[in-house]
């Protein structure tokens, strides 16, 4: 009996306290600040980018106050678990390993792959069209894995430690084509170096979803998922998307 009373008391206390804490406590959100154009630091030291804009739009939708903080990638999950902040919006892929220690909202964008090659090259990105060519990708990325798994029987696969080195070999002519995450490559194509190159063929959907990480069991997960749905529906998402890419990345 005493136990029951005690439980009821806690329930009452939390009920009473809940609205107060929500209003008083702002949500703290971590991002990395080193993954252009998704999250980066401008010359005044402010965090900017797609992830940051999305975070602000979501907070507005949820009608809560938010504070966005920068955190090194290495410590970003431990920091969440240590309650230094409440959510991570940093272009983090939803993976099995991470799901063991954190929860993810629904996706807020999808990572896809695309082939890049010289504008002067008439490249057909089917297996037949790629036959005998030299194709590169960054090692230890989904693009590298994809190339090894799906294309290594017809093309010569070259794996690079950095995306930059792969671009250099694309420019020097050692590579006929490059398979890459589409959005960072899109950024590169807009630079001076990228002028001679373009995307070839259709995007490759690899089922790589980017979500918002929260602590295990935190209700924020559902709040974020609902807010994402809402901003996609009311056009806010599209507005932000357009700022960075002329195509939808949802």
């Amino acid at each position: 009996m005493i136990r029951k009373l005690f439980a009821a008391g806690i329930a009452l206390a939390t009920l009473a306290a809940a609205p107060v804490t929500l209003a008083a406590d702002k949500i703290r959100i971590a991002t990395e600040g080193a993954y252009a154009p998704f999250n980066m630091v401008d010359s005044d030291g402010n965090l900017i980018g797609f992830d940051v804009d999305i975070a602000n739009a979501l907070c507005e939708q949820m009608e809560v106050e938010c504070e966005i903080v920068a955190q090194d990638w290495d410590g970003i999950i431990p920091g969440l678990r240590a309650r230094k902040y409440d959510a991570i919006i940093a272009s983090m892929s939803i993976t099995e390993e991470r799901l063991r220690v954190v929860d993810f909202s629904e996706k807020y964008y999808s990572n896809v792959l695309a082939f890049v090659a010289g504008k002067d090259k008439n490249l057909d990105v089917s297996k037949k069209g790629l036959n005998g060519l030299v194709v590169g990708a960054q090692r230890a990325t989904i693009a590298g894995q994809m190339l090894e798994d799906k294309y290594s029987d017809v093309v010569t696969v070259k794996l690079y430690d950095t995306q930059d080195n792969a671009y250099l070999d694309l420019a020097s002519g050692r590579l006929d084509a490059l398979l890459s995450d589409k959005f960072p490559a899109y950024d590169w194509l807009r630079t001076d170096d990228g002028q001679g190159f373009e995307f070839k063929g259709e995007d490759l959907d690899i089922n790589d979803e980017i979500g918002i990480a929260v602590r295990k069991g935190d209700d924020l997960k559902d709040d974020f998922s609902a807010a994402i749905k809402a901003i996609v529906a009311n056009g806010k998402y599209e507005e932000i998307n357009k700022k960075y890419f002329p195509f939808s990345i949802y």
Binding site: T141, Q145, G173, R174
Partner: protein, 236 residues
């Protein structure tokens, strides 16, 4: 997160392929390296300062900078110049294989030249004087006395240099070659088992190093056999 032996067994043949490329790189680079090192060392030990300065600059550069920088200078650096890209050299420099061989050879030549120079200077002065007294020409002296003697003296240190080359050859993986390290990294890109694959690759390096050390011991006994020569007790 568990340890998977099966993945090691499954990919062992591909690791072995990578090990063969590693051995090939070490062998050819070592060979070219020693061919380059001998004249460099002779020049370094010369009394003419102009002759001394050139190899000094070369050796200073290649010993004072990381091998990784040297590889990238040759692989990515060469592609910067249209002169090179339009020349007859490009088909060679286009291939990461040759870039690796060139970089490793130049690098090991610099280290070996210093070892050989040290050995030349360690030859007892008396032996040089004797050969001069016997009326040997300079060329004969180098061929008959200085090189064979210094080779015997340098051998232990040179075998050490070859072991360092074996370790350095892992850098071939940074210019897309599938040597032992490159193969392991490529397999990991597919299997996501870094610890197992790097462990297997590390074991293979250890085995290669072990076999190399064994061969050097045998060769050392053969080359410097006078040091191991024991008087037959019955003839005392």
């Amino acid at each position: 997160m568990s340890w998977e032996w099966s993945v090691i067994w499954e990919y062992l043949p591909r690791l072995w392929q990578g090990a063969l490329l590693t051995l090939e790189l070490v062998f050819f680079s070592g060979l070219i390296g020693i061919i380059l090192a001998v004249p460099l060392a002779l020049m370094r030990a010369s009394h003419n300062w102009v002759l001394r300065a050139l190899p000094f600059a070369y050796i200073f550069f290649f010993r004072g900078t990381p091998l990784l920088v040297q590889i990238f200078l040759i692989y990515y650096g060469a592609a910067q110049f249209d002169v090179i890209k339009d020349s007859a050299l490009w088909p060679v420099l286009k291939e990461p294989y040759w870039c690796a061989i060139i970089a490793f050879s130049l690098n090991t030549a610099a280290y070996s030249a210093e070892l050989i120079r040290g050995a030349i200077q360690a030859i007892p002065k008396g032996e040089i004087e004797v050969s001069q007294a016997l009326g040997m020409s300079k060329a004969t002296m180098i061929r008959r006395i200085i090189l064979p003697r210094s080779f015997g003296i340098v051998f232990p240190a040179y075998s050490n240099e070859l072991l360092l080359m074996l370790k350095g050859s892992a850098l071939a993986s940074t210019i897309t070659l599938l040597d032992l390290t490159g193969m392991a990294r490529t397999i990991i890109a597919r299997t996501y088992t870094p610890l197992e694959m790097f462990f297997a690759a590390g074991m293979m390096y250890l085995i290669i190093a072990g076999v190399m050390i064994g061969c050097f011991r045998l060769l050392e006994r053969r080359i410097n056999r006078y040091q191991y020569y024991k008087l037959d007790p019955s003839q005392r």
